[in-house]
């Protein structure tokens, strides 16, 4: 549903009627305003300027960030955690398994994970 593929429709009878009812609704104050909040609006285009450079800079930055995040996650995944430790945290602190696993990986051993969680 890309916009540029859509051709405008020439006004038929129904559309004219729609416009009329819209006009009537205008005097409805707040209701009409609220209605407009969800209206469809055309996007404004930037006047052609040299922006490719900027796009590349931000793109590089984004890639770097993504790579760093991935590396960090990989690092965390490397840490070995015991299933029973996760169970213990879930049972004692009443949090979800994912949360428990994350905290455990970050703190590496179960006692310091528990300590971190009660602080």
């Amino acid at each position: 549903m890309e916009e540029e593929n859509i051709e405008g429709i020439n006004g038929n009878d129904d559309e004219v009627q729609d416009k009329k009812s819209k006009k009537a609704a205008k005097h409805d104050g707040g209701v009409a305003d609220l209605e407009r909040v969800t209206d469809y609006a055309e996007e404004k285009e930037i006047s052609s300027a040299d922006i490719t450079n900027a796009i590349n800079i931000f793109g590089d930055k984004r890639n770097k960030e993504a790579a760093e995040k991935l590396a960090k996650e990989r690092e965390l995944q490397k840490i070995h955690v015991k299933k029973e430790d996760i169970e213990l945290i879930v049972n004692e602190i009443l949090i979800s398994r994912q949360q428990a696993e994350k905290v455990l990986r970050e703190h590496r051993d179960v006692v310091s994970a528990l300590e971190a969680l009660i602080n």
Partner: protein, 863 residues
């Protein structure tokens, strides 16, 4: 548009028109067009068309059909991004955001660069606060459509929300520079600049922010924001001489903004109270009609200077008859010396006004004109409030009665009289006076609400509803309408009244209703994600997002959540019998004949109940039909609102797991109201019952960091100590953590020793003594007498009504075991101390009183 099932050109054109119609909200046209395709025998099962028809139907409120069509469409064309997208939109309209995100992801698998899907995905991500995901999606959009404004703004915002101010700023800066200069600067541009400035400020680079503001102030149309920000930034940078004229100018713009005066004085760099008072005096002469420069110096002035200006301030208020005069100065009552001055002054006015009609003898000797007759009235009114604030009920009543005698038609007087009774603990008398006030002006909504609130405090829910009904819509019940209007103060007070009446289910229903309002407010932000971006009101938008993040911090939520938690904990301690059990309760011990009667009765009752439920079901069906037709008729009702489970008090009062329900209410408090000690004390009560040692410890630690000497915290610590002793086997890791933490917490003492320590440290604090007594009994039931004696012997003169109520409730709810005689003894003593309080009145005499009233009525009738 790649689809596994492409349409020929003619149908394809029609299909595009359907999309357009959907976007333009021309749903009926859309349906007609869909029909054109679907009636063609070749395409009756065309997936994408079916999906779009479903989506359009959904917008017309025909939800069941909508799901039907969309699912069928999807089944027919699983490879189509349109079908997945549509299914996502449908889920979204049902507020199933997680499901919707999954659908969008599937849609993107079919077509990874689809702008519309990415946009919709980003909306859901920001709504769910998946900020990392939002940034990723925003970056995709930025890459695909760098020529659009919104791409830049959204991309910058994603960094801003993640706290990367620098990148956010550099994106906006690049964007700003890329805009050609000949464009006219409008409101949107102005807002964008202010938003950029906000980012600079938040990054902590104040210098840069000031420079930015100075450079672009000519392009910003919100001049007030420029001035305020400029003044603030100058103060932060210590540029006081630049700041001074800015704040002076702002005072000139609006001399009633207290903040401007504060900032002006900050720029003056003075802490000397005389000097500050002089500054206010100068503004007083400059703006003789404004209140701020008259009221604000009262906060800083001391000694004779204070007497002098408060004298002026009070005389002016009493002369003109300013009703909220007392409320205006109430904040000064935290300083005892100021209270003394005010007290002397008003007594002086009272005496002089009575004898000569002047505020003072000096005025009389100077032969000044007399004060208006109403001055005495307002003085009496002030005095009544003054003594009420100091909780001197007798004097407060004396003055309010004198005032009412003076002018029996002033509504404020009756409100105050009611309030005096409320503070004295006579809630019935209190509501009667409010009802009187309300009857004097039934068109005054404020008085009406106050009256309802006082009725709720007296546990009169039905009466309160009737009073409110004077202002609610006529065709629905007041209770329903107040819920619809999200009237939370009323619902919370209702919940508390039901809690006092031990109608647990009703109390919970009200609490859940309040909770749902908060969920709804969070839902309501959805539309703003697109709207604010389009209108470029980005500062307001970020403000909204941050508000929604902490929405449940609001005191309204706290109150309701606290009530719900207390009720759920109570229901855990003493679960209600199931409805069946209630019925079967007495049958065992009845003689056969009685039993037979009872069975007959039950059978009849059952029949009646069945009939009633049948009728209720019918009514419900009718109501639903009515609602449906109404929704179809006027589209302003939100057809997208999902149906929530109905809240049934009987069911709510019998939860499967009350503690889990309590935790649901607790969670937001733990995140958002963590600076309130009550949160952690409530948490402790829940975890104590769940026997979760580490979480108990967590609550104690958090509470302790807020207030290490809180009396209730002490009780928690003792209970925790006891719990440790009772628990036999504890996991070794848990043990390690607990041992380490308790070393500090217990400091080598046992529970008894800790209890004695607290008593030694705070023998003069009633709350500490009360908790010590409570722990004493908890630890050793044989020490009950000592514990009771401890509470009983505390000087009654130093108790407030709230203290006494709490202690008395301890006696009656079994905190010290069953001890009726002690409770009665305590009650008698409290009665002497608080003669008005209903709680301590003799039940017998109360009933007698009511009886007497009734007899009088009957006699009247006979005559």
């Amino acid at each position: 548009m790649p689809s596994s099932d492409p349409l020929p050109p003619k149908e394809s054109a029609i299909f595009r028109k359907i999309l357009k119609c959907y976007e333009m909200k021309q749903y009926k046209n859309g349906l007609k067009l869909a029909k054109q395709i679907l009636t063609n025998p070749k395409y009756t099962e065309h997936g994408e068309t079916l999906a779009m028809k479903g989506l359009t139907l959904n917008c017309l409120g025909r939800k069941d059909e909508a799901y039907d069509h969309v699912r069928r469409g999807l089944r027919n064309d699983l490879k189509s991004h349109v079908c997945w997208h549509v299914y996502g939109l449908l889920q979204r309209s049902d507020k199933k955001y997680d499901e919707a995100i999954k659908c969008y992801r599937n849609a993107l698998k079919c077509e990874k660069d689809n702008i519309q899907i990415l946009r919709d995905l980003s909306l859901l991500q920001i709504q769910m606060r998946d900020l990392e995901g939002y940034r990723e999606t925003r970056h995709q959009l930025f890459k695909l459509r760098p020529s659009q404004h919104a791409s830049w703004i959204g991309f910058a915002m994603s960094y801003h929300l993640l706290g990367d101010f620098e990148t956010a700023n550099s994106i906006l800066e690049t964007f700003r520079q890329s805009q050609s200069l000949n464009e006219t600067y409008d409101y949107k541009h102005s807002e964008l600049l202010l938003y950029q400035n906000q980012i600079l400020q938040e990054s902590g680079n104040i210098d840069k922010a000031l420079k930015h503001l100075e450079d672009f102030s000519a392009q910003i149309v919100d001049k007030l924001a420029v001035k305020e920000t400029m003044g603030e930034l100058c103060l932060k940078l210590g540029k006081f001489s630049t700041a001074l004229p800015i704040w002076e100018g702002l005072i000139k713009r609006n001399p009633e903004n207290t903040l401007y005066y504060q900032k002006f004085i900050e720029a003056k760099q003075t802490k000397d109270s005389d000097e500050i008072v002089n500054i206010y005096k100068k503004f007083q002469s400059e703006y003789p009609y404004s209140i701020c420069p008259k009221r604000l110096p009262l906060n800083v002035a001391n000694g004779d200077r204070f007497s002098e200006i408060v004298d002026d301030y009070l005389r002016r208020g009493l002369r003109k008859g300013v009703p909220p005069l007392f409320v205006n100065v109430r904040s000064l009552y935290q300083h005892d010396d100021k209270v003394k001055v005010i007290s002397e002054l008003i007594h002086g006015y009272h005496n002089s006004l009575k004898s000569s009609g002047h505020f003072s003898n000096a005025d009389k000797e100077a032969a000044l004109p007399q004060e208006p007759a109403s001055a005495l009235l307002w003085t009496l009114y002030f005095m009544a409030q003054h003594y009420d604030h100091l909780r001197d009920t007798t004097k407060a009543l004396e003055y309010i009665n004198a005032a009412i005698e003076h002018t029996p038609t002033l509504i404020e007087l009756f409100v105050t009289k009611g309030r005096i009774y409320k503070h004295a603990g006579d809630l019935v008398e209190a509501f009667k006076w409010l009802d009187e006030a309300q009857s004097l002006d039934t068109a005054d909504r404020y008085i009406n609400s106050k009256c309802a609130k006082y009725m709720l405090r007296a546990n009169m829910v039905k009466e309160a509803e009737e009073i409110c009904a004077k202002f609610t819509r006529e065709d629905v019940s007041a209770m329903e309408n107040l819920n619809e209007m999200q009237c939370m103060w009323f619902q919370t007070e209702c919940a508390l009244a039901y809690q006092r009446l031990e109608r647990w289910g009703d109390a919970l229903k009200k609490c859940h209703e309040v909770d749902r309002h908060f969920s709804e407010i969070i839902e309501d932000q959805f539309d703003f994600h697109t709207y604010c971006m389009r209108k470029m009101t980005l500062r307001a938008y970020v403000g909204l997002l941050r508000l929604e993040d902490v929405l449940r911090q609001h005191p309204f939520y706290f109150k309701a959540a606290r009530c719900a938690i207390e009720v759920y904990v109570r229901l855990y301690d003493k679960p209600l019998k199931t409805e069946q059990q209630v019925e079967e309760f007495d049958t065992e011990n009845l003689p056969p004949s009685e039993l037979k009667k009872l069975r007959n009765k039950q059978r009849k009752a059952k029949k009646k109940a069945e009939l009633e439920t049948a009728q209720a079901v019918q009514a419900q069906v009718k109501k639903e039909q009515h609602n449906k037709s109404r929704q179809l008729q006027n589209q302003d009702g939100d057809p997208e609102a999902p149906q929530l489970d109905e809240l049934v008090p009987e069911k709510l009062a019998r939860p499967d797991d009350p503690l889990e329900k309590a935790i649901d209410f607790l969670r937001p408090l733990q995140v958002l109201a963590k600076e309130c000690i009550k949160t952690h004390l409530l948490a402790f009560e829940i975890y104590y019952r769940k026997n979760k040692l580490l979480l108990m410890l967590q609550s104690i630690k958090r509470a302790k960091s807020l207030d290490p000497i809180d009396p209730n915290l002490h009780t928690c610590i003792v209970k925790f100590y006891k719990a440790l002793k009772v628990n036999g086997e504890i996991n070794e890791h848990v043990r390690t953590v607990i041992d380490k933490e308790t070393k500090l917490l217990f400091d080598g003492r046992d529970a008894d020793a800790m209890n004695q320590d607290v008593l030694k440290k705070f023998p003069n604090s009633f709350h500490h003594v009360l908790q010590v007594a409570r722990c004493m009994y908890e630890l050793d039931a044989t020490k009950r007498n000592t514990a009771v004696q401890l509470v009983m012997s505390f000087d009654f003169k130093r108790l407030t009504l709230e203290d006494a109520t709490l202690a008395y409730n301890y006696f009656t709810t079994g905190v010290f075991g069953v001890c009726e005689s002690s409770a009665n003894e305590y009650k008698v003593k409290c009665q002497q101390r608080f003669p008005h309080a209903l709680l301590f009145k003799d039940q017998q005499s109360c009933e007698n009183h009511m009886e007497n009233v009734k007899v009088e009525w009957d006699n009247d009738d006979q005559q």
